[in-house]
């Protein structure tokens, strides 16, 4: 009888874990409607100097036509944007332009592509297209873990 009870309890517990996992998956994959701002032209002049882009954080809306003007102020620097498959290189004192439509929502890192010194591999910046929904999902997941932690207590 006791064994039966504990096996019922265990199967109940598995169901509860499965539900939590399912909620976690929903948080991660459910589509969130983007704000429908009208696409506009966006222009950024980015000064690249050793290990630093200025500005390093670019915010645009989904659908915006973005033009980046890269100006290297000391040595040759490059700029490649993860997820957009875009890359350019600027010689010192010369400006190069890169245009694209920000058709992918999310946070994308951009980084230098020309070895420019010791900290070159860490010369990065961020392109934010729309809301950083990924971060919000992660925060919601953290909330779920908190709930799971408190629920675990109730066992």
């Amino acid at each position: 009888m006791i064994e039966q009870n504990s096996s019922v309890k265990r199967s109940k517990r598995w169901w509860q874990w499965a539900i939590l996992l399912a909620i976690g998956l929903v948080i991660f994959i459910v589509p969130i409607p983007a704000k429908a701002d009208a696409p506009t032209e966006r222009f950024f002049q980015i000064d690249a100097r050793r290990f630093e882009y200025d500005p390093a954080i670019l915010k645009v809306n989904p659908g915006d036509r973005v033009t980046l003007e890269l100006v290297a102020t000391d040595v040759v620097h490059g700029l490649a944007i993860d997820g957009y498959n875009l890359e350019t290189t600027a010689d010192p004192g010369k400006a190069v332009r890169l245009s694209f439509v920000a058709d992918r929502q999310g946070t994308f890192r951009f980084q230098c592509t020309v070895t420019c010194g010791n900290m070159h591999p860490f010369m990065t910046g961020k392109l934010l297209v729309g809301e950083n929904t990924f971060l919000w999902r992660a925060i919601a997941l953290t909330g779920l873990v908190l709930v799971a932690g408190i629920w675990m207590e109730r066992k």
């Binding site: 290990f51 954080i57 591999p121 990924f134």
Partner: protein, 475 residues
């Protein structure tokens, strides 16, 4: 160092008493004694497999120093930088520690020369040959100096991690220090008290699924020679092990025990955590906090978009670097300890009766271990994984002399994996948070007053730390 003389509860060891629960537990089916697995036993029993691995790591170590000092001085093309800070550092955090505890220590090349000098041999150790054989000063014991060494790494990390010559000199200095200390002090004083990686590995080894323990307490207690203690190059006595933080898994005790009374157990993760501490030592707490402060700083410097911060960390001696150093030290020496102590204090206030705050701090520090380990792994995913491809490049031309050993003619390009790596980072941080909650719950359940309120402020601490890491890594 867990010496016979240093065990505060040595008098509690019953010489002919019953096995206590914690040791009886080791014989239960949630442990698998790898030393009793027929095909694995010869690998541990013989010194040859370990010796061969140590020779390989020693050869790699010497080659790395040479490549650092004489190879190309561009970090991303230098064997030393890529192998130490990308390959080895990643393997340590993603494989060795989470799955093997201090397994790296068992094949680390750094103490090899010191062992040889001290013992007059590696294959047949035990006879002391050179050195003053002094005992390490009592007031320097514990992991305080390891924390200090890690803080030093953090202060100079932007240069050490990117400048091949500095990496070469640092490795050489560590090797020289280890050899020098082995000539002055007995056993592995460097590994036990100074090596920052030893501190890092030892602390997080408590979360790992590997442990070395005695099987029958009575057999050890009756054994007068204590051959395991005599054989241990670390100066440890296995009967005294309460967690896996000190044992370097060198297996010498297994080989020396005449009664076959030692086990190399595969165990559930986190087995060492969730128990009340019997001492009020704060060195481990401080080390755990330094690891948390350091991973936050490293994530901001190396993966953040703030160029001014990278420059400040890199330009050693400049005013921005002084500011960076001040903030880094204030974070680790002041802010993190104050917040954590505040959380423990608040937790104790929630509870019915007041315990020793020092002991409570030492106990609650266990919550920080899964949190720190998973944060380091999550940071490594973004720091190192995208650069793993560079390993091929330096293997192809280790000295930058235009060789093409692997026949790779095209320049090695960095691949972008930021998409999947961000998902992985979030999952790792969530596992760390849940795991730390689980340890907090265990601690609350095992406390004398069984007050669940004690864990709430610590859970809040873990939650805020996780949110900070999330913002740094995927924000």
């Amino acid at each position: 160092m867990t010496r016979l003389q240093d065990i505060p509860w040595a008098e509690e060891i019953p010489f002919n008493g019953q096995l206590d629960k914690s040791h009886r537990r080791l014989q239960f089916p949630d442990r698998l004694n790898l030393y009793r697995v027929d095909w694995l036993r010869p690998l541990f029993k013989s010194r040859w497999p370990q010796f061969i691995l140590r020779m390989l790591t020693l050869a790699g170590f010497v080659f790395t120093i040479l490549a650092g000092l004489f190879g190309p001085q561009v970090g991303s093309h230098n064997f030393a930088i890529i192998f130490v800070w990308i390959a080895w550092w990643t393997a340590l955090k993603l494989v060795f520690i989470p799955f093997g505890g201090r397994s790296w220590c068992s094949i680390c090349p750094i103490p090899l020369a010191g062992d040889w000098l001290q013992q007059g041999g590696i294959m047949e150790p035990g006879q002391r040959r050179f050195g003053l054989n002094l005992r390490w000063p009592k007031r320097l014991r514990g992991s305080w100096m390891q924390s200090g060494a890690f803080l030093l790494i953090g202060l100079f990390s932007a240069v050490t991690l990117t400048n091949p010559q500095v990496t070469g000199w640092v490795l050489l200095a560590i090797f020289g220090l280890a050899v020098g200390m082995s000539l002055v002090f007995e056993k592995r004083a460097f590994c036990t008290s100074l090596c920052p990686i030893g501190g890092f590995s030892g602390m997080y080894a408590q979360t790992s699924p590997v442990e070395l323990r005695i099987i029958e307490k009575d057999i050890c207690a009756k054994h007068e020679v204590k051959s395991c203690y005599q054989a241990c190059p670390w100066g440890l006595y296995p009967l005294a092990f309460r967690d896996s933080s000190a044992c370097g898994l060198c297996m010498e005790c297994l080989r020396a025990c005449p009664s076959d009374n030692l086990a190399l157990n595969l165990r559930p993760f986190s087995s060492d955590l969730g128990r009340q501490k019997t001492t009020s030592r704060l060195d481990e707490t401080f080390l755990a906090l330094v690891m948390l402060g350091s991973v936050v700083t490293f994530a901001a410097v190396f993966t953040g978009p703030w160029g001014w911060l990278k420059s400040a960390a890199f330009e050693i001696g400049s005013l921005p670097w002084v500011r960076y150093a001040f903030v880094y030290l204030a974070l680790n020496l002041l802010l993190m300890p104050v917040i954590f102590i505040g959380a423990v204090w608040a937790g104790e206030r929630f509870s019915v009766s007041w315990n020793s705050l020092k002991r409570a701090i030492a106990t609650q520090a266990q919550v920080l271990l899964p949190l720190g380990l998973m944060s380091w792994i999550a940071f490594t995913v973004s720091f190192a994984l995208p650069k793993l491809i560079l390993i091929l490049g330096v293997l192809n031309d280790p000295f930058g002399w235009g060789w093409s050993i692997l026949g790779l003619n095209q320049s090695i390009q960095k691949v972008s994996i930021s998409g999947p790596s961000m998902v992985l980072q979030v999952l790792l941080l969530m596992v760390g948070l849940f795991w730390s909650f689980s340890v907090a719950r265990k601690l609350a359940a095992t406390s004398a007053k069984k007050s669940q309120g004690t864990k709430l402020p610590i859970m809040a601490f873990s939650l805020v730390f996780t949110l900070l890491m999330l913002w740094l890594l995927v924000g």
